[in-house]
C-alpha cells in the first residue's frame, strides 16, 4: 500500500506502524463521574467496519508523524490522510 503523507507525499506502507481505530483519539475526561465505564468503552470497544475505516498509522521509519488514514478495508483504497495532531486539535477546538 502507499500512504500519501500530508507532509512527505506518497510513502510505502512498510515505513509505517499500524495502531488501529482512530477513535483512540477520543480519550475520555478522567474526571467525569462514570470515568471507569467511559475508559472501558474507549479502550475495549471498537467498530470493525467492512468499508471505510479511520485508523491511526505512525510514520516510524520516517518523520514520526501520527496520521489518521481513512482506508476502505474491503478494497484498501485510501480516501484521506491527515496529520493526527491536526485532527486532535480540531476536535478539541470543536468541544
Amino acid at each position: 500500500m502507499i500512504i500519501n503523507h500530508p507532509l512527505l507525499g506518497p510513502r510505502d506502507a512498510q515505513e509505517f506502524t499500524y495502531l488501529g481505530d482512530a477513535s483512540l483519539l477520543d480519550r475520555p475526561d478522567w474526571q467525569v463521574p462514570d470515568a471507569a465505564q467511559a475508559f472501558h468503552d474507549y479502550l475495549y470497544l471498537r467498530d470493525n467496519p467492512a468499508g471505510d475505516h479511520r485508523e491511526l498509522w505512525f510514520h516510524e521509519q520516517g518523520d514520526r508523524s501520527w496520521l489518521v488514514v481513512t482506508r476502505n478495508t474491503l478494497t484498501h483504497e485510501i480516501l484521506n490522510v491527515e496529520l493526527a495532531r491536526d485532527v486532535a486539535k480540531a476536535r478539541r477546538a470543536a468541544q
Binding site: M1, H40, L83, A84, A88
Partner: protein, 984 residues
C-alpha cells in the same frame, strides 16, 4: 545418444553446443534450448514420476505451467528441487536429476502405488489414518511425509546472493508476446516510463512458437525490429527472465528477476535472483493464454502433450517428442499444430477431432467425430486406440499425442485482489471481469482475444488508453498484418467411460476422483480442491482447474460459470525463499547494535549476550575462572566492596523539551513530575491505559523546560512511539517536543562505595560532586577529562552509592578506558549484565520479569505512587475492582529455608501443608539469582497479599522438574533495606 529428435530451423544456436547431464547421463543441446527442449531433442520422453501413483511422466507443456517435468538442478548448496525443465535455461555443465523415484526413473519401486490406486482415491489419507489418534503424529505422518513430497534439499547453505530492488514506472507491461510488444512500442514512443517484463529469456511469447502469425514476415523478424527500437529508448526498461508474480494494492507488483539462473554460478558479487517491488501508475496484463488438456484413458503417458507446446518445441526449439505425432483436439488451433509439424517433416498419422464437422487438413487424415479411448506404452506412448464416429475402433501407432481442449486466458494477475472472472461463451473459457485491480488493464489472449491480430491491436489500444488516463498523448503504431482466425471450438472435457483419465497431472487427480468428491458431497470448487488436492502444488492447477470444474459442473447439472473457480492468489509461479529473504540472511537478518565499550570489552575477553539487537557484555571472565558464576560473583563482590563499571548505553533515552514538558511527563507517568526541581532525577512508572505497568525508568530535569527520560532497553522503541502518540494525539495543545537520543549518548553506571572517588578523578574540578553538593537523585550537566561535555546522574540500580555518567557516543570508548585507568587504585571491576541482574535482585528492583504485562503498580508495591490528583495514562482503569482486591499479588523476596537449596525460577508457591494445585496457588517466582553477599540463592516473586506475609514459610514447587523446597517470604530489599549506602 545423438539428438535424434532435433528438427531443422528453430531459434537455437546450433553453433553453440552445450553439454549437460540428466540422471548422470551426458547429453548435448544448444544455446537457446531449455532443459526440456534439449532432453526432447535427445529423444528423452520420461522425465519424472507422478506425485501419488508414481506413474511415468514426461512433458505436458513448454512453459511455466508445466506440472510433470519437475527436476532437481545443480548440487550441494545450489541444489534446487521441483524446477520445471521447461523454464530451466540450458547452460554448459548443467546437471539435472529426476525426483520422486527409487531406485531409478525407469524402475521406481513406489510405482506399486499405482496398483493400489483403487484404494488410494481422493480422501484416502483422511479416511484411513484416523485412529488410534496418537499414531498420527508419531507414525502415520512421518511415513506419509517421507513417501510424499517431490524434490529434496541438501540442507547446505545457499552460497549465492539474492537482492531486492524497487522500480517505478508509468506503465508496467506484463508479458512480451505480441500484445506486450505492441503495447511497449506504443507507450515507449509516447515517452512514458515503461517496464516490459517477461518470464522467458527470449521475448516474443507465442510469436516464437507459431510459424504463421504474420501474413508476410516471420515473427522473429518483427520481434527483433521492435526490440531494437525499444532498446534504443531510454524510457523503456526491458526485463527478460522476470516473472511478475503478484498484483498488490495501489498498483504495486511483485516480480522476481532470475539474473543468473542461466549460468553455472552467478558472477562474483552479483545476485542470482532479484526481488523487485514495482510501483506502477498503470499496468497492462498481457500474459497470454494457457492450453488445456483433454481427459481420456491413460492420457498421462510420456509423449502425450498439449498441442501448442508440441508446436512451440517444433518451431522455436526444433525438437519433436517423436517422429510420429497424432493430434487430438476439439478446436481449429489443434490443426495448426498438425500443419506446423508436417511442415517440419514430422509424420502426423491423423488428426482426431471430436467435432463432427471438423474441416479437412491437407497432408493428413482428419477423423471427425472421433475420440481417443485408450493409449499404450509403459514408459511412453506407443499407440492409441480411437473410437471413430461410426463406433468402430482403430489403433494408431505413434510416439506422441498433441492434444488441445482449447485455451484459457492466463488471468491470475487480474484476480489477485479477489476479482472473479466471467465466462465467455464463444471461446468456452473464463476471461477477466471488469473488477480489475486499480490501474490495471488486460489485453490480448489474456483478455480472451486469441488471434495475433487481436493481440497486436489490443495491446496498442490499451496502452493508449492507459497513457491518456495519465495525461500522456499516445498514438497507435503501424502493426503488421497478422493471423486473425476465429476461435472454432466445441467444448469437450473428457472422454466418457474412461476408467483413469487424468485432469490434474501434478496431483494425480482423475475424472473418477472428481466423481467421488461429488458423490461425497464435496461439490463446491473450494471443497473439491481440498478434498482431491486438485490445483495444488507448484503449478497451482494452471492446466487442470477448468477441466475438473467442467466435470463437476456436468455432475451437478450446473453451468460452468455457476460452478465458479477457486480464488487466484500470488505467487503466479513459485518464488524461491532466497529471493524473498534477499540480503536478510544469517547475521544480516537483523542489525547488530554495538555498545560504545564493545571494542574495549572484546579486548577484555568479555562474553556477550544478545539483548534485542544489542550485543552486551554478559560477564568478563578472568584467567583461571572456569564457571560463569565465578566471574559474576567476583564482579558483584568487587562492585559492592569497592567500585564497578557497567555499560548501560542500551537503555532508551528520550529528550523532552518545551514549556509544557512538565505537564507532559505528568500525563505519561503514573507518578507526579511537575514539582520535580531542576537538577533532580525521579524514578517513573509508566502504565498502559488499561492500568497495567509496562515500563519504568527515570526522568532527569536539567531545566524548567528540559527533561531527559530513560526507558528500559527492550521498550525503548515502544515507549518513544507511545510518547509521540500522547503528544500528537492525546495532548496536541501542549508545547513539547521529543527526540530519541539513545544512540547519541554513551552511558555508564559507576557503582560501589568508591564510585565517587573514582569519578572525582574524571570530572573536571570546577564541578563539586561531594555528597552535600550532589546528593542522591541529583543530576547535572558537567564536563569531564578537561572540557568534554557530560551528564551526571546520581542514581543506583545496584543499591550502592552509584552514578550514571553520559558523554557523546564517540567519546564512549575513551571514557571507559579513562575510568578504568582512574579506577586502578580502587581495584575497579567492569561488570556485565549478569552481575547487574544479581545486584538489582539483591536490591529488590523490578525489571522485565516483574513488569511482565500482567502486573500493576499495586502488585509492584508502588500503588501509592500512582497519583490520583492528575490525569495520566492508565490511572482511571488502574482503579478497577479486580485489580485492587485484598489478596492482590505483592512483590516480595524469597529465600530458601535451607540456604544450600536453589530457588527455581518460574516455580509456584503453595502453602506448607496444603494441596499442590492451581486452586491453591499462592504466587510465583519471577527472578532468581545466587547472592554472593548473602551466600544464598534468592528470588523475587509475587505472592497473594505478600506484604502482610513476611516471615511466612511456603512451599516452592516446580512440578515440571520435580522440585519442591521450603522458602521464606522476606522483604524484596535483601541488601541495604533502608537505603543508607546509596545516600552515603
Amino acid at each position: 545418444m545423438s539428438q535424434s529428435n532435433r528438427l531443422k530451423g528453430g531459434l537455437i544456436q546450433t553453433d553453440k553446443p552445450l553439454n549437460f547431464t540428466f540422471d548422470g547421463k551426458s547429453f548435448q543441446g544448444f544455446q537457446g534450448d531449455t532443459l526440456a527442449s534439449a532432453l526432447m531433442a535427445n529423444g528423452v520422453r520420461l522425465m519424472g514420476r507422478s506425485f501419488k501413483y508414481h506413474r511415468p511422466r514426461g512433458l505436458l507443456t513448454s512453459g511455466s505451467e508445466e506440472p510433470n517435468a519437475l527436476m532437481e538442478l545443480r548440487s550441494g548448496g545450489r541444489q534446487e528441487p521441483n524446477t520445471r525443465a521447461t523454464v530451466a535455461e540450458l547452460y554448459d555443465g548443467l546437471s539435472a536429476q529426476s525426483q520422486n523415484r527409487w531406485p531409478s526413473l525407469e524402475r521406481d519401486m513406489m510405482a506399486i502405488n499405482d496398483r493400489f490406486s483403487t484404494f488410494l482415491t481422493a480422501g484416502f489419507y483422511y479416511k484411513t489414518f484416523m485412529w488410534p489418534k496418537a499414531f498420527w503424529e508419531k507414525l502415520y505422518e512421518p511415513i506419509i511425509r517421507k513417501a510424499a513430497g517431490l524434490g529434496s534439499l541438501t540442507g547446505e547453505d545457499d552460497p549465492d546472493l539474492y537482492d531486492k530492488g524497487f522500480l517505478h514506472c508509468d506503465l508496467l507491461i506484463i508479458g512480451a508476446g505480441p500484445t506486450g510488444l505492441s503495447a511497449a512500442l506504443t507507450a515507449g514512443r509516447a515517452g512514458a516510463q515503461v517496464i516490459l517484463a517477461d518470464e522467458d529469456f527470449e521475448l516474443g511469447g507465442r510469436l516464437l512458437a507459431d510459424a504463421n502469425a504474420f501474413e508476410s514476415r516471420s515473427g522473429s523478424d518483427w520481434i527483433s525490429e521492435v526490440l531494437g527500437e525499444l532498446n534504443a529508448l531510454p524510457n523503456v526498461r526491458i526485463m527478460p527472465r522476470t516473472t511478475v508474480f503478484g498484483s498488490y494494492d495501489h498498483g504495486i507488483y511483485g516480480a522476481v528477476e532470475r539474473n543468473a539462473d542461466h549460468l553455472a554460478t552467478p558472477q562474483a558479487d552479483k545476485p542470482r535472483q532479484t526481488l523487485w517491488r514495482i510501483y506502477s501508475k498503470r499496468a497492462l496484463v498481457a500474459t497470454g493464454a494457457i492450453e488445456r488438456p483433454i481427459a481420456f484413458e491413460n492420457n498421462d503417458r510420456p509423449g502425450i502433450m498439449l498441442a501448442g507446446a508440441v508446436r512451440a518445441f517444433a518451431n522455436r526449439w526444433a525438437a519433436t517428442p517423436a517422429h510420429s505425432v497424432v493430434v487430438f483436439g476439439n478446436n481449429g488451433d489443434a490443426h495448426a499444430t498438425a500443419r506446423d509439424l508436417m511442415a517440419k517433416g514430422v509424420n502426423v498419422p491423423a488428426i482426431i477431432d471430436v467435432r463432427s464437422d471438423a474441416p479437412d487438413c491437407a497432408g493428413t487424415e482428419v477423423l471427425a467425430g472421433a475420440q481417443i479411448v485408450e493409449t499404450k506404452g509403459r514408459l511412453g506412448v506407443t499407440s492409441i486406440t480411437v473410437r471413430l464416429a461410426n463406433g468402430q475402433h482403430r489403433e494408431i501407432a505413434c510416439g506422441s499425442v498433441a492434444m488441445s481442449g482449447g485455451w484459457n486466458p492466463n488471468l491470475g494477475l487480474t484476480c489477485h485482489q479477489r476479482g472473479r472472472p466471467s465466462w465467455k461463451e464463444d471461446i468456452h473459457a473464463f476471461v477477466p471481469s471488469s473488477d480489475l485491480p486499480v490501474g490495471q488493464s488486460v489485453a490480448g489472449a489474456a483478455a480472451g482475444d486469441l488471434s495475433t491480430h487481436q493481440a497486436l491491436m489490443g495491446g496498442a489500444t490499451k496502452a493508449v488508453e492507459a497513457l491518456n488516463a495519465l495525461g500522456v498523448t499516445a498514438t497507435m503504431p503501424d502493426l503488421p498484418e497478422a493471423e486473425d482466425r476465429p476461435v472454432a471450438i466445441t467444448p469437450f472435457w473428457h472422454v466418457k467411460g474412461a476408467k483413469r483419465a487424468w485432469l490434474d497431472y501434478q496431483n494425480d487427480v482423475t475424472v473418477k476422483d472428481v466423481k467421488l468428491a461429488h458423490q461425497e458431497n464435496f461439490t463446491s470448487v473450494e471443497h473439491l480442491k481440498r478434498y482431491t488436492t486438485l490445483g495444488m502444488a507448484t503449478d497451482q492447477g494452471k492446466t487442470s482447474n477448468l477441466g475438473a470444474l467442467a466435470v463437476m459442473a456436468e455432475l451437478t447439472g450446473k453451468p460452468i460459470p455457476e460452478t465458479g473457480t477457486t480464488i487466484f492468489r500470488p505467487p503466479y509461479t513459485p518464488v524461491a525463499m532466497g529471493a524473498l529473504g534477499g540480503r536478510a540472511v544469517g547475521k544480516d537478518f537483523h542489525p547488530t547494535r554495538l555498545t560504545p565499550s564493545h571494542t574495549w570489552s572484546e579486548e577484555q575477553g568479555a562474553v556477550f549476550v544478545e539483548v534485542g539487537n544489542w550485543l552486551r557484555a554478559q560477564w568478563f571472565p578472568k584467567a583461571g575462572e572456569t564457571h560463569w558464576r565465578q566471574s559474576v560473583d567476583r564482579e558483584v563482590l568487587q562492585t559492592r566492596n569497592s567500585v564497578g563499571i557497567c555499560d548501560v548505553t542500551t537503555l532508551g533515552k528520550i529528550d523532552v523539551q518545551g514549556a509544557d514538558a512538565a505537564q507532559f511527563l505528568n500525563n505519561i507517568y503514573a507518578n507526579a513530575f511537575a514539582k520535580l526541581p531542576v537538577g533532580k532525577v525521579r524514578y517513573g512508572l509508566m502504565l498502559r491505559e488499561d492500568g497495567v505497568a509496562y515500563d519504568d525508568g527515570t526522568a532527569a530535569r536539567f531545566a524548567d523546560d528540559h527533561y531527559v527520560v530513560t526507558t528500559t532497553t527492550a521498550n525503548a522503541v515502544l515507549v518513544y512511539r507511545n510518547m509521540e502518540f500522547a503528544r500528537q494525539c492525546l495532548w496536541p495543545d501542549l508545547d513539547v517536543q521529543l527526540i530519541s537520543t539513545t544512540e547519541a549518548w554513551a552511558q555508564y553506571a559507576v557503582a560501589g562505595p568508591n564510585s565517587r572517588k573514582l569519578l572525582q578523578k574524571i570530572v573536571d574540578p570546577e564541578f563539586d560532586i561531594s555528597n552535600e553538593a550532589f546528593p542522591f537523585m541529583g543530576c547535572a550537566e558537567i564536563t569531564v577529562c578537561g572540557g568534554l561535555r557530560a551528564r551526571l546522574f546520581r542514581i543506583s540500580f545496584s543499591g550502592e552509592l552509584a552514578y550514571e555518567i553520559a558523554v557523546p557516543t564517540r567519546y564512549g570508548d575513551a571514557l571507559m578506558r579513562e575510568m578504568m585507568k582512574a579506577g586502578e587504585e580502587f581495584d575497579v571491576v567492569p561488570y556485565g549484565t549478569e552481575a547487574l541482574g544479581v545486584m538489582r535482585i539483591e536490591k529488590g528492583h523490578a525489571a522485565g520479569n516483574e513488569l511482565n504485562g500482567t502486573t500493576s503498580a499495586l502488585n509492584l508495591g508502588m500503588g501509592r505512587m500512582v497519583s490520583k490528583k492528575k490525569d495520566c495514562i492508565g490511572n482511571v482503569l488502574s482503579e478497577r475492582d479486580g485489580m485492587n482486591t485484598e489478596d492482590a499479588y505483592r512483590l516480595v523476596g524469597i529465600k530458601p529455608v535451607d540456604s544450600s537449596a536453589t530457588v527455581p525460577a518460574g516455580g509456584h508457591l503453595m502453602s506448607a501443608t496444603g494441596p499442590v494445585d492451581a486452586a491453591h496457588d499462592q504466587g510465583y517466582v519471577t527472578s532468581t539469582a545466587y547472592s554472593p553477599i548473602l551466600e544464598s540463592s534468592i528470588g523475587l516473586g509475587f505472592v497473594k497479599n505478600g506484604a502482610e506475609r513476611m516471615g511466612e514459610k511456603l512451599r516452592l514447587v516446580n512440578p515440571l522438574e520435580g522440585q519442591n523446597i521450603m522458602v521464606e517470604i522476606v522483604s524484596a530489599h535483601f541488601v541495604d533495606p533502608d537505603g543508607e549506602k546509596l545516600r552515603a
